[in-house]
């Protein structure tokens, strides 16, 4: 039987850069022109099969972009194996916001977290404000994966997730591989939302 892995992935980024659309494309290969804003966070899963038949199941937490929901984010990125930080190539400020998220991840998240910087909305090429060179240069400096996508056309979407799957340390299984149990299997791995209660002082989710 081929190997199976399971990883927790969190999506971060400014409001309306297309986080939910990106996930929807990845998970269901769909796109809605009108996608409502995300309140709180949404959860989905999708599995990627690599060439060697290894399967990587992503447990995806898609977070809300508005600043006021920021305080919930640690709950989702803590214990995350990978993070996709999304910006909108037509909005320069969204790249700055992405950089803020990346700094936070570098400080607060698991040191081994795989971070991918993702420029979305490449279909809107006429309105592009962030060049590939600029984003890639930043990603290289920070040692991040980088890619551009269009959730609308699907361009680059599966590529970026597959690349993450390949980059995740498949040789050293993450703590959560195949330890699936019955009821209440949240202990110790993955979405252990309880865990966060042990740390942090100012996080409202902590109360």
């Amino acid at each position: 039987m081929s190997k199976q892995f399971q990883f927790k992935l969190v999506l971060l980024g400014e409001s309306a850069v297309g986080k939910s659309s990106l996930v929807l494309r990845f998970v269901k290969d769909q796109f809605d022109d009108y996608r409502e804003s995300t309140i709180g966070a949404a959860f989905l899963t999708q599995t990627v099969t690599l060439e060697d038949q290894t399967t990587v199941k992503f447990e995806i937490w898609d977070t809300a972009g508005q600043e006021r929901y920021k305080s919930l984010a640690p709950m989702y990125y803590r214990n995350a194996n990978c993070a996709v930080v999304v910006y909108d190539v037509t909005q320069s400020p969204s790249l700055d916001k992405a950089k803020t998220w990346i700094r936070e991840l570098q400080r607060q998240a698991d040191p081994n977290i795989v971070i991918a910087l993702c420029g979305n909305k490449t279909d809107l090429s006429a309105r592009r404000q962030v060049t590939q060179e600029e984003a890639q240069k930043y990603a290289d400096e920070e040692g991040l994966m980088w890619g551009e996508t269009s959730a609308k056309t699907g361009e680059g979407v599966s590529e970026i997730f597959t690349a993450i799957a390949k980059k995740l340390p498949l040789t050293a299984p993450p703590p959560r591989t195949a330890t699936r149990g019955a009821a209440g299997a949240t202990g110790g791995r993955g979405v252990d939302l309880n865990k966060q209660s042990a740390t942090g002082q100012n996080e409202p989710c902590n109360c």
């Binding site: 998970v27 009108y34 999708q46 305080s71 919930l72 979405v191 042990a198 902590n206």
Partner: protein, 591 residues
């Protein structure tokens, strides 16, 4: 326009509102119907004859949230109105909504916009006459939504804590499963934050829900959220058993399939705006009509032997529920050793070697039911006297797609072979289909059973004196005036009280509470008494700290006239019924 049956008087000022009658109407099929157009403004204390657009306080200077408002209005009107397929129509609506939102925030500059607020205002926008949009939205914001319109999420997290406590007393077993999934019921965040406007898929349904909420105290949304969550117990238990973590969040952050009585068609879109489309979870599932509101059944679920023990509910007015539930419906771990995991904080030796990392996560007490048992559970029929109706649960489909091993007992191998997009990985979850009226009635029942003054809810230990929970009143004379209300968002520490206790302590305290009740009921020697005692000490410490903090806080609050004024009213509201710790804390504040 007002119907002769409408218990509202025609008058100029904020007239008398017959709240009781309107409340009653609001839970009937169709709610307030067409009359809501005139009733809502009265409920919101908007004087229909005043000039709504007087420019006082408004400004042409952009509000700091206008960029976000634009981002959100540009993706509004997604689900309704249904005749909105013309993009140009939609864009026109979006423009008008945007204009309205901008007006509100330029007029009340101290308020902050939150994502989801636009969903709430959309409902007003589509319901009320245009000339009342701004004033109604303003009143709604200042006197009901205000807590969420400060700079942070804290106040709504306070509401989530109250919701959590409500669930714990209403259904300890179920709430333990939920607690195990999330430290707070975050899946209800958008329910509370947006008064369900973000989540309810059709305009008539959300209007009905607003009929319900606007005829009640602002805390009613917490009870309604609890009613919704309780209606999904079956589904949650299923997912829990399947061990798909995260899926519980996914499931609960969308609503059940809610319908209006009398409507033939079920609502088509089960969820709004959540990429975790419930369809993907629930397509291949069976459906269930409502579930039970009763603790008796819960007790049965927890412990086969507990059937005739009337226990946990702390109130006397227990719902008398007859549950026919055979023992084998839920295979319990008590067979292993006569001990309930929930009582002992002992790790549950579950058949699948689930690694529980901490005691707290174990307490979950989710019965490790076998799938066949759950199928049986679906035929439970529970008589809900509270709701005056018999809910019946029926199975439609139990089959999973072929790729899915239907028997969780073979789960391990199943895990290995499972294909896996959410669409393809199937969850044999029953989709709850429930009428809006039964949800509203259940919310009322919960409110009556566990009113806000219930000491276990600790509303006054969570929300502060400037919260709408305490400033709102049916009587307009007691409402803070608009400017005063607007100022309140600047004192977030008086909207939601600083939390002294951590989640864990909180949880422990609560478990200690459960513990206490269970001890009473079981009268069995306890194995882990040592642990329990130790926890009790910790809890006592936490309570002491809390008490001191509250006292200090109370003293600080004294010079503030308005807050004292409000606390007096709160005092009336609370009616001196508080006992124990709550009372002491409360007195501290009232100093």
């Amino acid at each position: 326009m007002s119907d002769p049956t409408t218990p509202l008087e025609e008058a100029d000022g904020p007239e008398e509102v017959d709240w009781e009658t309107l409340r009653e109407l609001s839970v009937r099929p169709g709610g307030l119907g067409k009359d809501r157009e005139t009733i809502w403004p009265k409920l919101l204390r908007v004087n229909p004859h005043s000039n709504p657009l007087e420019a006082s306080g408004s400004s042409s200077e952009p509000h700091h949230d206008e960029r976000q408002i634009k981002l959100d209005t540009e993706r509004s009107f997604v689900l309704y109105p249904v005749d909105n397929h013309e993009p140009s129509n939609r864009e026109a609506l979006q423009r008008d909504l945007h204009e309205l939102l901008v007006s509100i925030f330029r007029r009340r500059r101290k308020l902050s916009y939150f994502q989801g607020y636009h969903d709430i205002i959309t409902v007003l926008f589509l319901t009320l006459p245009k000339d009342l949009h701004l004033t109604c939205a303003e009143k709604l914001s200042l006197h009901r939504l205000r807590d969420s319109m400060g700079s942070s999420l804290e106040p709504v997290l306070g509401q989530l804590r109250i919701l959590q406590r409500l669930l714990r007393i209403a259904d300890p077993q179920y709430s333990a499963v939920l607690d195990d999934n999330s430290p707070l019921p975050y899946f209800a965040l958008s329910n509370l934050l947006t008064l369900f406007a973000h989540d309810i898929p059709t305009l008539p349904l959300i209007q009905h829900v607003f009929d319900y909420l606007l005829t009640r105290h602002p805390i009613a949304s917490v009870y309604l959220a609890a009613a919704v969550l309780l209606s999904r117990k079956e589904e949650v238990m299923w997912l829990e058993q399947e061990g798909e973590e995260g899926m519980v969040h996914s499931l609960l952050s969308s609503l059940p399939d809610i319908y209006e009585e009398g409507d033939v068609e079920p609502s088509k879109e089960p969820s709004a705006g959540n990429p975790a489309e419930p369809e993907s979870l629930l397509d291949e599932t069976r459906s269930v009509t409502a579930v039970q509101l009763d603790e008796t059944a819960v007790e049965i679920n927890e412990l086969g032997e507990a059937i005739d023990e009337k226990t946990a509910p702390p109130l006397e007015e227990l719902p008398k529920v007859e549950a026919s539930l055979s023992d084998e419906d839920w295979t319990m771990s008590d067979k292993e050793d006569s001990m309930d995991p929930e009582e002992t904080f002992q790790e549950l030796p579950s058949e699948a070697e689930t690694a529980f990392s901490r005691e707290e996560t174990v307490v979950a007490s989710s019965p490790p039911p076998k799938s066949s048992d759950l199928k049986h559970a679906a035929v439970i029929s529970v008589k809900e006297e509270e709701l005056g109706e018999v809910t019946e649960i029926h199975e439609e489909v139990v089959k999973s797609p072929p790729s899915q091993e239907p028997d969780p007992e073979k789960k391990e191998s199943d895990e290995e072979s499972r294909p896996s997009s959410p669409a393809s990985s199937s969850y044999r979850v029953r989709k709850t289909r429930v009428s809006v009226t039964s949800l509203l009635a259940r919310a009322d029942a919960l409110y009556n059973l566990y009113p806000p003054i219930h000491p276990d809810l600790g509303v006054n230990t969570v929300m502060g004196p400037k919260s709408v929970i305490f400033t709102w009143s049916e009587n307009p004379a007691y409402l803070p005036d608009d400017d005063e209300a607007e100022e309140m968002v600047l004192r977030p520490e008086l909207v939601v009280l600083p939390q002294v206790e951590s989640t864990d302590e909180d949880k422990e305290e609560d478990q200690h509470e459960k513990e206490r009740r269970r001890r009473k009921k079981l009268k069995k020697p306890r194995r882990f008494a040592g642990v329990v005692v130790e926890r009790r000490v910790m809890v006592a410490g936490a309570v002491l700290v809390l008490g001191v903090a509250m006292a200090v806080y109370g003293i600080r609050a004294v010079p503030d006239d308005t807050s004292r004024h409000h606390w007096r009213r709160v005092g009336r509201w609370v009616g001196g019924l508080l006992v124990g710790v709550s009372e002491r804390v409360f007195d501290g504040i009232r100093l």
